[in-house]
Symmetry: C2
Subunit: 252 residues, 2 copies
DNA sequence: CCAATAGTGTCTTTGAGACAATATGAC
DNA sequence: GTCATATTGTCTCAAAGACACTATTGG
């Protein structure tokens, strides 16, 4: 960053200060500022289905339309300068879900800043992904008053119209977690504290929209056991009238 | 995005509008705005070494300190709302290098928005990665007046102090291209229009800071030939007094 | 015994890494 | 011929995909 933000009207600010031989020097014009927001794509897996939390907009524009939870970053230009953008994301997540900040996985997704994406004025939005465990997910809005709700990314979302460019943000988010699924441990964020191999596999299938061969999947899981990534937990879990499964937990 | 930006003093803006049962409703307080900038991490490979373009800061703070090229996004809150953030990145890239916008690979890296990262006031910076081919890279600042310069990421950068949080941004950028190297075609952006297998391998080695077995690397390359990713180009290239190598080019 | 899911094992293919031998052109 | 690099090929191992079989429970 080598910008010179326009702090006060009094300051004679120069816009930018990079390598400037070829740069057009601008007179001390004050650069107008955009609003900066955060939008959080909150995922969970319930009933072997990848779901996202949407909120119904209360004001114009897009009043009554479903949208990603989000809000403006709280900023000050003096003193402590307000909250960081990551902090803002955690705050919005917390407000949307009631979960205590820091209780689930949050990662920055992408920043959306095309001109015109908000009709009211220039808004640049830093989008985040949050992964909420099924336990927590089911607890959220157990029949809310209709202002926030889980939607299936496979059944409902494709047919919905979302506010602003939120459809694009959501698409980007789904692609991101799909891409990371096989090369990271994010799946464990979308599974209960203790889980069976089949439950973990269901989660993989929900995210990827494909099936995994149970036997090959188990082999991958064996490797994780060998590496000490997961450990057996006490108890068994029954599914129907069949043989019960062992219980596992992530080794933190 | 479901924020309500503070457009005018007259408007009764509500901060945010997510799922709000638990949200604290704020009176129509106007949210202060941050400045939003773009910083571009411009890479090239010269002499089998990964280099980054830095600019010497002309003003306070960090006057005289090397920093990433960057500047503020040009924004308006009425009319066309100004330039998009990607457009701003291309503009900064163009200003720093003299290259025509769109002539090289640009991808968003990450957005840095901790409070206090700029002592002058709240600045949120969207960082970008640009990859410049050696041909273009060598042409840039062929002995400039010292305000912009290529630095070796392996030799010089580790010992330098950079302005703001630019060291962190640069680290993130290097990690990113290292991570993408083996799963994408970005290496071809850091190689001349036509190249030999050895040159491509040198580029891989420069980025990853490791050696690749020439024979195994060639096998990977063979696969790319089979997939039609690369095609043989006319001519041969000599390196020393040894056997000349075939020339290849990326199949766009 | 039967139904249904849990768990184990085999065969094959693909790609990565280690390593040896041959080909070609400058000198 | 010699030197230096280009190019081809072999062997081994790790991991993924396809697929068959045994184990354990409820009924």
């Amino acid at each position: 960053m080598s910008h010179t933000p326009d702090m006060t009207q009094a300051e004679s600010a120069t816009i930018g200060s990079g390598p400037t031989k070829r740069r057009t020097r601008r007179s001390p014009t004050l650069q107008e500022k955009p609003s900066v927001g955060v939008d959080v794509v909150i995922f969970t897996v319930i009933d072997s289905d990848l779901k996202v939390l949407l909120a119904k907009r209360e004001g114009q524009p897009f009043k009554g339309v479903w949208s990603l939870p989000g809000g403006l970053v709280r900023v000050r230009n003096s003193g402590d300068q307000g909250e960081g953008i990551e902090q803002a994301a955690h705050r919005e997540l917390s407000e949307a879900t009631g979960l205590t900040p820091g209780s689930c996985f949050v990662e920055q997704l992408y920043t959306f800043g095309k001109a015109g994406r908000d009709p009211r004025g220039r808004v640049i939005s830093v989008a985040w992904i949050a992964l909420v465990s099924p336990d927590q997910g089911r607890a959220i809005h157990p029949g809310d008053q209709g202002d926030a709700q889980w939607f299936s990314t496979h059944e409902e979302i494709p047919w919905m119209r979302l506010a602003f460019d939120h459809a694009e943000i959501l698409d980007t988010a789904v692609e991101r977690i799909r891409g990371k699924l096989d090369h990271s441990n994010i799946a464990f964020e979308l599974v209960p504290e203790t889980f069976t191999v089949a439950e973990l596999r269901d989660t993989y299938e929900a995210i990827k929209s494909r099936t995994y061969d149970a036997r090959n999947f188990r082999r991958r899981f064996q490797r994780m056991i060998g590496e000490g990534v997961v450990t057996e937990a006490p108890g068994k879990r029954h599914r129907g009238k069949a043989r019960p499964a062992k219980i596992w937990r992530l080794q933190r």
